[in-house]
Amino acid sequence: MLASVRSATEGDGFVPPGTKDFDLPPIIEGVEWFTKPVLLVMVSVVLISVFFVLSARKAAVVPSKFQFAGESIYGFVRNDLAKDIIGHEFMRFVPYLFTLFVFILTNNIFGIVPFLQFPTMSHVAFPYVLAALSFFVFHYVGVRKHGVIKYIKDIAFMPGVPKPVYILLTPIELATFFLVRPLTLSLRLFANMFAGHLLLLVFILGGEYMLNDSLLIMKLFAPFSFLFGIALTFFEFMVQCLQAYIFTLLTALYIAGALADEH
């Protein structure tokens, strides 16, 4: 991974962080697809599996700390997300929502874990796939419950509106359900992770550059840049949790909407 550690002082003057900082080289030369984000996703899958298998294996009535931690996360997704939003049919969707939440959360937090320090979701392909999955799930659920024709009709034609108004409203409804929803779902997650990583790079690399500058005044102010970088790291942690939550929350809301009898 050392090959991808970057310094602000290469070349002349300060090199501001940009999109090229997300273009990481393959870890093994010649294996083009195997980059850091891919490795991080694999690591996250292993970590999550091991954590929850271990926390559930020796499940006891009086839980150990480990079991308690696992059960708190599960309980949070099951009760505060699935049950509150979807209602009586919620149990079917808990596995998906739970996996989604934990997967996104872990991969987001990789952004501030020392030495890993890269949020997987700042590569837009990962949020796209997750959003496509959620898109498929909530439409599938709706189609299964209502049948294709009734489901589309429910979306496209709001009851109690004079017919000509449908020319105005139907395109908006269809665009919302089939375009804007998956797009906002993925882009919100991607943009937050991308911008957050960029923000941290600015302050950390800026601090490094100032520290290496020949002027004393620059050296003196470098610690402030680092301090700000640390403060923003805590802020990032908050954003990372929040984004995992919002993604899961919206998926649950969309499922609930697809299950509802009428809009």
């Binding site: 209602g87 709001m158 509106v161 395109p171 908006i172 409804e173 919302t176 804007v180 906002t184 809301l253």
Partner: protein, 63 residues
């Protein structure tokens, strides 16, 4: 849906506004390109925003 109606409304309003602006604004923009005018984009955006707000009212306002 259960007790989270306000929360639902909040997210739906956001989605409707975006798609209203995108769709009708896009139509207006295409019209401008086609006819060589400059005001249709604005008209489209306003129609889209209006339609979206109407839709939000239909879905969450009337009871």
């Amino acid at each position: 849906m259960s007790g989270n109606r306000e929360e639902n409304a909040l997210w739906s309003i956001f989605g409707y506004l975006i798609s209203g602006l995108l769709f009708w604004g896009g139509i207006g923009w295409a019209g401008d390109r086609w006819l060589g005018t400059t005001y249709l984009t604005l008209v489209g955006l306003l129609v889209g925003a209006g339609g979206a707000i109407y839709l939000v009212w239909l879905r969450f306002g009337r009871e």
